[in-house]
Symmetry: D2
């Protein structure tokens, strides 16, 4: 998996996602960085990026990170996502880094930080924590076969 390959696969299967300005800029085992670029029409008065766009970016960063473990998977779908909006997000592009915390047989969880491309990566504008449901497939390993529990 490389960012180019992810971007090609997404453009082929979900052309609207690409048209909306989402892309993968970097990835490695268990993590990925996604980017959302916008033009003046996409933002709110004052240049504020709308919440649903920030949500979409966090969501896609999690999807990209999952690809690094199970390959490109259009059938992996969001099960839940919690997002905290911490500061107004402005500018022409946002970046989001997802780190996976767990990839099980049926669920994958990750956490995502969002920041302004022109700003300080430590100045987090939004933080997300969420789960994807994975399609049925072979268990990754014995150790990973136990799902969530309390």
């Amino acid at each position: 998996m490389t960012p180019d390959r992810v971007n090609r696969l997404v453009a082929d299967s979900f052309p609207r996602t690409t048209a909306l300005g989402f892309s993968c800029v970097e990835l490695g085992d268990g993590w990925a960085i996604a980017r959302l670029a916008f033009d003046a029409d996409d933002v709110r008065p004052g240049g504020i990026v709308p919440g649903p766009s920030v949500f979409g970016l966090a969501d896609i960063a999690l999807w990209f990170a999952i690809f690094t473990r199970i390959g490109f998977e259009p059938m992996a779908v969001t099960s839940d996502l919690t997002i905290h909006f911490l500061r107004p997000a402005v500018g022409s592009a946002l970046l989001a880094r997802c780190n996976l915390t767990k990839v099980g047989r049926r669920l994958a969880h990750g956490e995502v930080r969002v920041w302004e491309e022109d700003g300080d990566p430590d100045r987090v504008v939004a933080f997300a924590s969420g789960t994807y449901t994975l399609p049925d497939r072979e268990p990754v390993s014995q150790a990973e076969s136990g799902e969530a529990t309390s």
Copy 2:
């Protein structure tokens, strides 16, 4: 507050929100129903509504419900939102009903159910729980002046 008045105020201040297909269809003290209409370009293969659009609908239903308590308030902004996607959402329009659970001096919380306009309202396709931060204003009442606590 009436749905028409909400829709006029939103169209004036946030024309893109209106253009994207969001509207208020019903509201009353402490609750509101929002609608999102889409055309073929907005949906994923199979007619599936994208997660960020469902998120946006839940988010705006909460915003509309808050208007029934504090009036139209462009400065009320999402602080956090948790969304669970329970079933694929398909069709040409979705509806979302928000019931407020608390409106305090600085925070308002509500829960939101989303369903397909052509489907059974009890067949929830997504469920959200979230908080808006309210701009500084006079306390609503003594009883409401205590904020969140554990």
Copy 3:
């Protein structure tokens, strides 16, 4: 399923849960009301119920509600729970009502309202939204066999 039967099954399998003051007081198809009683030692200065106890009550209400659909199931475990603390919770007992929104093959989701037993049920002290992972079992029905998706 009756509250008495739930309480007997829980006392047999999880005696500590019963000893901590948790019980089922009412249930029906897709919903349940749980109760948590405490004494002076369990509360914080000012009689405030600790957050983890409120969390535990919301969590168990969701578990009880799931029993109404799949029977008593010690292997159903919490996958995620989001809780908003809306007001200080005081008094000698709290009640929590869970309404299920979805029971699928592998996941069940519900929402939970918590209030003071001596207070107004509409004065919600905490609100929770969460998911249980269900053990492998036969599909409930064709219509329910599709899991979460965005």
Copy 4:
């Protein structure tokens, strides 16, 4: 702030918290590590730590991390917390590290990882993301005075 000082302040104001086995083991600017020790009576069959105890540990790690920015503050209370249970947690002690993402005038947000003291810190058993409401006080700085927004 040192772990010893935090533990003394907590023991003085919330003796039950200390008695339940919670302590601070390490902290620095914007982060803290909390510990929860239990004995055989506290755990479920199979040695599983109950979800509410894991929740309590994540919650207190966030509280400790906030102390590193605003000092010991009994009036800082949990506003919301989302927890994902990723693996069964077993053993005689759990650790939780909170990293703050934002401390504003009225709200502080952090993320928390929980692992088994005897296990691999990268084998996360639970992940939490949550917010505390801070008591009224002087703004920390101009740059921090803007609250959450979307």
